[in-house]
C-alpha cells in the first residue's frame, strides 16, 4: 500500500494540501464522502493549529504523511514545535455549547478528535506526531 509525504512550511495555510492529500487517499481507497470529509476536517484542524499556534506562522517544517492500509486510511502531521498533545488541550467542556456568541479555544481540536475513528499522538525525535485515521469498512455483500 502506498504512502505519500508532503513537506510544507509553517508560514502558509496547510489547508489546500490537506484537502488534496485526503482527496487522493480517498480516491485510492474508496473511502466514502462523509468519512473523507471528516478525515479532512480533522487533519485540517490539527495542521492549521500547528501553523497558527505551534509555529505562529514562522516558516518551520510541517509534514503531511498519508497512506492507505488494508483496514484504514491514515494521515499524520509532523512538526518541530514544542511538545503539544492535542488531547490535553481540547475545549474544556466536551459538551456542545449552547451559547453561540462564545466558541472557546480548543473547539477546533475537539472537532478534530471527534471526527475520526482513530487519533494517536506521540512526541519522538523532537517531533510532534499526530495521526488521524478512518476505518475502511468491508464492501457490503452482493445480494443475490
Amino acid at each position: 500500500m502506498s504512502t505519500v509525504r508532503i513537506r510544507l512550511r509553517g508560514d502558509r495555510s496547510p489547508s489546500p494540501c490537506v484537502a488534496a492529500l485526503v482527496d487522493r487517499l480517498a480516491g485510492e481507497s474508496g473511502l466514502g464522502e462523509r468519512q473523507a470529509y471528516r478525515l479532512r476536517l480533522a487533519a485540517d484542524e490539527l495542521a492549521t493549529n500547528v501553523a497558527e499556534h505551534g509555529y505562529r506562522w514562522v516558516p518551520l517544517p510541517l509534514e503531511l504523511i498519508g497512506g492507505v492500509s488494508a483496514d484504514r486510511v491514515w494521515l499524520r502531521i509532523e512538526d518541530t514545535a514544542p511538545p503539544f498533545d492535542p488531547r490535553l488541550h481540547v475545549a474544556r467542556s466536551t459538551e456542545p455549547t449552547d451559547q453561540p456568541d462564545r466558541l472557546p479555544g480548543g473547539y477546533g481540536l475537539l472537532l478534530a478528535l471527534r471526527s475520526v475513528d482513530v487519533y494517536e499522538y506521540e512526541y519522538r525525535d523532537g517531533r510532534n506526531r499526530s495521526t488521524v485515521a478512518m476505518s475502511l469498512s468491508p464492501e457490503p455483500a452482493e445480494q443475490s
Binding site: S13, S15, P16, A19, E33, R34, Y37, R38, R40, L41, D44, E45, T48, E52, E95, P96, T97, D98, Q99, P100, D101, R102, L103, Y107, G108, L110, L111, R114, S115
Partner: protein
C-alpha cells in the same frame, strides 16, 4: 477552493450567499463581509449555504463573530446546508443558537 461571498440586504434582512470553502484562509473575507453588513441595523441574517462545500472551526468562528456583532435579538439562519457542514456545526452545539436548515428542507 476559496470562498466567494455575495451579499444583499432587503427589507432589513441581510443575505450572504456562500460558495466554496470556509476554512482559515477564508476568514478575513468572511469577517469583512459580515462587518460591512452589520454596521447598519438589520433584523436578520441569512446565509445561503447551497454552494458551501466545507467549513472548519475557522468558519464556525465567523458565525460566532456574527452573533457578537448582531446581538442575541437578531436571528441567524443557515439555509441549504450540506449534511457534512451541518454535522460540523452540530458537533460544537452551535446549531442551538442558529436556525439550521439542511439541503432540501424548507
Amino acid at each position: 477552493m476559496s470562498l466567494a461571498i455575495t451579499t444583499a440586504v432587503r427589507d432589513g434582512v441581510a443575505t450572504l450567499t456562500l460558495a466554496g470553502e470556509a476554512d482559515a484562509a477564508a476568514v478575513p473575507l468572511f469577517q469583512r463581509r459580515l462587518t460591512e453588513l452589520t454596521t447598519s441595523a438589520i433584523s436578520g441574517l441569512v446565509l445561503d449555504c447551497a454552494g458551501l462545500t466545507y467549513m472548519s472551526s475557522a468558519g464556525l468562528r465567523c458565525l460566532v463573530y456574527a452573533h457578537q456583532r448582531l446581538g442575541r435579538g437578531v436571528s441567524i439562519e443557515l439555509n441549504e446546508v450540506s449534511p457534512q457542514v451541518a454535522e460540523t456545526i452540530r458537533l460544537t452545539g452551535l446549531d442551538r443558537g442558529v436556525i439550521l436548515r439542511s439541503k432540501g428542507e424548507r
